[in-house]
């Protein structure tokens, strides 16, 4: 089943032509409308009009998360703000956030790309789709929402949280497709077990999961516990949001929306392209985005591109599920967390030492993040009240900075593990 057979099953040669045409006009557009790229092209002596073949892609500059931050909020928009009809922001923090915009056409493209992955899983206009992604600045909720409407499904925009209500609605509204993070799917499954609900009594058939890395074992567990077909999908707000890639029913790799994006895999050290099929960092160039075109965006996600054609008939290549990150970013409860953010806050608080450790665990189904902080000796031994105050301050500030709850523990000076004089900042105990 295809949503857009013409484009999903296009002969590779035609796709190459389309990509070249679209890349050429994208380069013209960013060189004309985005000072950042004009400058970069000048520095690298790239002539955007001279670009003649997709193989010249490596001559173009990269775009990084930092570039997006430096141009906060609207610096990288290629259209005037009056043409922008929607703004989303990545889960960042004050001063660190990144902002992306969409024109009317961008939203339409987005909805169609989501419709593709929904259709690839099997969702049709007969389905009742429960979207348990957060609605708001996060691209997950709204992105999926408009795509599900595009398919013609009955959409329940329940947003995230309130597990009991999710289950109640899932039963009462006879939800057939669930959209959320894979870990939340397991939370729901466990809660149902506790409540004594037989999952086979549900109408649930499909689950589309994304927003965080997960494993094949987790897929099996979700499929068994909820009795559904679970597919993986991939996206990032800097590029568009969900819909950048998604699995078909073969469940062996995510089809890349190559007619709207160009995908490369590079060695994150040398920045050279890896050999076909090798693992490296995914780099994406948008081909049709109007408001927020991005050239060679370094996703920091590690994956590989599967060159072999898929039995489903789509000619769009696939990428393997994301294997990890090239930077120290943590994804906790679907929220991006950088150790540097935590560090920044700790520095501001009196009595703490610049040594800390972030421990991420999975308690039951949910991620739990604990920050171990070294404090000066005097505080640690003497003042219980002072200790509690410090813990509360850190907790409060971290919660408002990160947007998720964090446990804080104070430890004595020099008790945290150091290797080669450098502290081990992050301990990820989750088994993904």
């Amino acid at each position: 089943m295809y949503w857009d057979e013409k484009n999903e099953c296009m002969p590779r040669e035609d796709l190459g032509q389309l990509q070249l045409e679209r890349l050429q006009s994208t380069l013209y557009r960013v060189a004309t409308h985005v000072p950042f790229y004009r400058q970069k092209f000048k520095e690298l002596k790239v002539d955007p009009d001279g670009f003649r073949s997709l193989s010249e892609l490596t001559s173009l500059p990269f775009t990084t998360k930092q570039d997006l931050r430096d141009n906060y909020p609207y610096g990288l928009f290629a259209v005037p703000l009056r043409d922008v009809v929607r703004v989303h922001s990545s889960s960042g923090t004050t001063g660190q956030a990144t902002v992306v915009g969409y024109t009317q056409n961008d939203l339409k493209t987005w909805a169609n790309l989501i419709a593709r992955i929904l259709t690839a899983t099997g969702v049709t206009n007969d389905d009742v789709v429960q979207i348990a992604f957060g609605y708001g600045l996060f691209t997950g909720g709204f992105g999926m929402h408009y795509g599900a409407e595009r398919v013609g499904a009955s959409v329940i925009p329940i947003s995230s949280g309130n597990t009991k209500r999710q289950i109640q609605i899932m039963q009462d509204f006879r939800t057939t497709a669930l959209i959320c993070t894979p870990s939340y799917a397991l939370v729901l499954a466990d809660a149902m077990q506790e409540l004594g609900i037989n999952t086979s009594s549900l109408s649930l058939k499909y689950g589309l999961f994304g927003g965080e890395p997960w494993s094949e074992a987790m897929r099996q567990e979700i499929q068994n516990k909820l009795g559904i077909i679970a597919t993986d999908n991939y996206g990032l707000s800097e590029i568009m949001g969900p819909g950048v890639a998604g699995e078909c029913r073969e469940c062996s790799g995510l089809h890349l929306a190559e007619d709207h994006f160009l995908f490369e895999v590079i060695n994150p050290e040398t920045l050279d392209p890896v050999r076909p099929g090798e693992i490296g960092e995914l780099v994406i160039t948008t081909l049709t985005k109007e408001a927020f075109p991005v050239i060679r965006y370094r996703t920091r996600d590690l994956t590989r591109i599967i060159e072999e054609p898929c039995p489903c008939g789509r000619t769009l290549r696939r990428m393997q599920r994301v294997l990890g990150r090239t930077d120290d970013m943590l994804i906790v409860k679907g929220v991006n967390v950088y150790p540097s953010q935590i560090e920044h806050i700790l520095f501001e608080i009196e009595g703490t030492r610049p040594h800390y450790q972030i421990v991420v665990e999975r308690e039951g189904r949910l991620d739990k993040i604990t920050v171990l902080v070294e404090v000066v000796e005097s505080i640690f031994f003497d003042e219980m009240k002072k200790q509690r105050e410090i813990i509360e301050t850190i907790k409060r500030q971290l919660a408002s900075e990160l947007g998720i709850g964090v446990e804080v523990k104070l430890v004595e000076e020099k008790t945290l593990e150091r290797s080669d004089g450098k502290a081990k900042r992050v301990v990820d105990k989750r088994k993904l």
Binding site: D14, Q17, L18, L20, E21, R22, Q24, S25, Y28, R29, T32, D49, G50, F51, R52, S53, V79, P80, R82, D83, T103, Q104, N105, K108, T288, E290
Partner: protein, 241 residues
């Protein structure tokens, strides 16, 4: 059907087409919009071989044609309806149509008659005027004759250069209806128009040409919704500044 990659062309030292890449799929109407002097007509002249490409490639039905002579390209199935009609004014309507079938000259009389009948069905007014000299036809009728003449070659790709120029609004409407009809009959059309709105309404896809470069490609409805296109080509009132 047609695939153009990095095409460059010009007149003498003047580079008109700077780097054109575009394609037309079978059964599609693709429109190319752009202001005066953007290079629209030069592009059509280059595809038909009247202007030589200085770089890049033009592939028609899987074969490179950029080095072929104009008359050979017509035989490969690519017909042009030139701007300003350019019918043979001192010949009758029927004679114009017969001339159009030149590339099909090996066909028998029966096929020729059928071909002409098909054109008369498509443009009933031409049947009424079949014996009349082409120069005495109205502008709209001449346009229909020019299109009919091109269709007589049974082209794989028909290219229309500004078919609405200088015609009354009602006639323009009629011409666009015929273009839609062409697609229904399975023809592949590359349409060049200054009347961007009308062109995008009938087309499947479109390209925006500006100073010899393609600056935008997209589904016709997306281009219609694109604010830049609206401001530059659709005469949208930009009061909001």
């Amino acid at each position: 059907m047609l695939r153009i990659k990095n095409l460059e062309a010009g007149y003498g030292k003047l580079r008109v087409l700077k780097r054109i890449s575009l394609h037309v799929n079978p059964g599609e109407i693709v429109t190319l919009i752009g202001a005066n002097g953007a290079g629209k007509t030069t592009l059509l002249s280059t595809i038909t071989g009247l202007v030589r490409a200085t770089a890049g490639e033009i592939v028609l039905k899987g074969q490179n044609i950029e080095t072929l002579k104009a008359e050979k390209i017509v035989f490969r199935g690519c017909s042009l309806v030139p701007e300003g009609r350019q019918v043979f004014a001192t010949m009758s309507v029927r004679e114009n149509l017969v001339l159009g079938s030149y590339v099909q000259h090996r066909q028998g009389k029966e096929q020729l008659r059928e071909g002409i009948e098909y054109i008369y069905d498509l443009f009933p007014v031409l049947r009424e005027r079949k014996a009349q000299l082409a120069g005495t036809l109205s502008g709209g009728e001449q346009q229909m004759l020019a299109m009919g003449r091109a269709l007589m070659a049974k082209p794989a790709l028909i290219m229309l250069d500004e078919p609405s120029t200088g015609l009354a609004p009602l006639v323009v409407k009629n011409i666009f209806r015929i273009i839609e009809r062409l697609r229904e009959e399975g023809n592949t059309v590359l349409l060049i128009e200054q009347n961007a709105k009308a062109a995008l309404k009938v087309a499947d896809r479109g390209y925006v040409l500006e100073t010899g470069k393609i600056i935008l490609e997209g589904q016709a409805d997306e281009l219609l919704a694109n604010r830049d296109v609206q401001r530059a080509y659709l005469g949208r009132d930009v009061k909001e500044n």
